[in-house]
Amino acid sequence: MTREQIAQRIAQEVMPGYCVNLGIGIPTLVANYIPVEKMLCCRVKMVFRYGGFPSEKRCRPGFNQRRKQTVTAVKGASFFSSADSFAMIRGGHVNLTVLGAMQVDEHGDIANWMIPGKLVKGMGGAMILSLARDE
């Protein structure tokens, strides 16, 4: 299975009107496969209703998500801070979260520490995101 196929499969889990939190890595690709009409609230840190990666023509330097990859904003987008995104998470407003994990076991235990020699910021929001779920 390719990264794109995995992202396409995850995109099928997104229902209309969902508020989705997308993590770093393959989760970021998911936004590329969510049809615009289905996309009510989709965000990768700080952009509400963001579209997929831009084509070269539509690319705007400086308009990035957290991993510094450029993204697009669809009609009706709004920008918000990292603090606001955690308020949404803690307030239980997020319907679906897709974590980008480094190490995970069959029980779903996650170990997101660091990759030696690489600049990836540790645990990220995974701890609070997994705590904030409803059931």
Binding site: F48, F79, D84, M88, G91
Partner: protein
Amino acid sequence: MIATAGKITVAEVEELVETGDLDPDQIHTPGIYVQRIIVTKIKKSALNN
């Protein structure tokens, strides 16, 4: 900010605009915090009296 605290947040608005009319940078309360919208036709001057 109080909109974030309510289980149901009702927004009484003077003007309802089309999606995309608002500047993304000017939105301080994303729609995810608002569950109901009521557009009132009452003019401001009437409220002041």
